[in-house]
């Protein structure tokens, strides 16, 4: 049923070793068009390493990486980002000393030519994220929740085909979480952009993701819809531990 064009990202046997530690082992992952894919796993499961591998910040020890059908194994972060895979970082991926408007503008510099078009892109992005009233504010002075949105804004201003978010909900309150989830759905539905979401907030992941991939000790544990994952005995075991028989 699926054509090759529906696969935005594909990894084949992706492996990354740090000395004696096998951080990611033989991972097969695929991200399809128009989906929000959750990547979860207990601490140390290899989520961040996977993230760095697919965005080109780490080179794989072995295995292959295909981004939008192109073989990107060993390609630089710059090359991959220019193909349309844009990522954010766990801790503050924004420029604290710049205004919100300039932050978002950074995302448009490479892809959008012309001052007017850029300004339109910035305005559109800010409106979508609810940042329009804060465009002239210095980003470092904003409350934490808005700073998180600015990080997404910089990335989304580049209008990626695949947006990879590294724990975008950390430290947000309930209202901010649900706002961000609405934004993610709009990014998927209105712009046809797929989202890879690495997140510890299970409730949020389960409510927004189309599919969820679970990693454990650097290995693929399960893939499925949120409902399938919730009842998967291997996943429950990984998170809660073995049941000890008396």
């Amino acid at each position: 049923m699926r054509s090759a064009h529906d696969l935005l990202l594909e990894t084949k046997g992706l492996t990354r070793r740090f000395g004696g530690l096998l951080a990611v082992s033989n991972l097969d992952l695929d991200i399809r068009a128009h989906e929000i894919l959750g990547l979860i796993g207990p601490n140390g499961a290899g989520k961040s390493t996977t993230f760095n591998l697919i965005s080109g910040f780490y080179k794989p020890t072995s295995g292959e990486l295909f981004v939008f059908g192109e073989n990107c194994t060993g390609k630089s972060a710059l090359t991959i980002s220019r193909l349309g895979l844009v990522r954010t970082f766990q801790h503050g991926s924004l420029m604290r000393s710049m205004t919100v408007g300039d932050n978002i503008l950074l995302g448009t510099i490479h892809g959008v030519k012309g001052r007017l078009k850029r300004r339109e892109r910035v305005a559109e992005t800010a409106a979508m994220l609810g940042l329009a009233p804060h465009l002239a504010d210095e980003a470092g002075n904003l409350p934490h929740g808005l700073q998180r949105l600015v990080s997404i804004g910089i990335a989304f201003a580049a209008r990626p085909r695949l947006l990879c978010l590294d724990e975008p909900l950390t430290g947000l309150n309930q209202t901010e979480v649900s706002n961000t989830l609405i934004v993610l759905k709009r990014i998927r539905d209105e712009f046809g952009c797929s989202v890879l979401l690495v997140e510890h907030n299970m409730k949020a992941v389960m409510s927004v993701c189309d599919r969820v991939v679970v990693l454990h000790h650097g290995q693929h544990l399960a893939t499925g819809t949120p409902a399938e994952i919730r009842t998967n005995s291997k996943v429950i075991e990984a998170y809660l531990g073995h049941r000890h028989e008396q």
Binding site: M95, I109, H110, S151, A158
Partner: protein, 140 residues
């Protein structure tokens, strides 16, 4: 400079280089351009120095000259274009007074760097800007 795209990319590299890279900006090229521009300025200054003095010797380009330049930038403030200008004017004036202290006047520049780093990490311009921001915040 600070308003242009190039200036914004420079600030982005200072604040968060990785983010700049993830939105397709070629950080390596920008850095090479910066080093080249800085080298052009330094080369030009060196040539002018030779013209002005009619004679040049290795002593004119000693480690001390480099530390003077560092002191200008640190005292003036490195975040803005005017910072180093302010710093160099101020330190050259004060430095001429320090000449009266005798042979060890170079200590003055070292002290200036230490004081600047400890008491005003963003330099004089940063200090002034902070004051102005406080005042406008107080007016609200």
């Amino acid at each position: 400079m600070e308003k242009s795209d190039f200036g914004k990319i420079l600030i982005a590299i200072r604040d968060n280089e990785n983010v700049a890279r993830t939105v397709g900006l070629n950080i390596l090229v920008v850095k090479i351009v910066c080093f080249a521009a800085a080298s052009v300025a330094a080369g030009l200054a060196g040539s002018l120095h030779a013209i002005a003095n009619n004679v040049i010797s290795p002593g004119d380009f000693s480690f001390l000259v480099g530390s003077f330049a560092l002191a200008y930038v640190k005292v003036g403030g490195e975040d803005t274009v005017v910072g180093p200008l302010v710093g160099s004017v101020l330190l050259v004036i004060l430095g001429s007074y320090a000449l009266g202290l005798g042979g060890e006047e170079h200590i003055f520049y070292g002290a200036a760097i230490v004081v600047a780093v400890l008491l005003m990490p963003q330099g004089i311009t940063g200090l002034l800007r902070g004051k102005r921001a406080d005042r406008s915040a107080g007016a609200h």
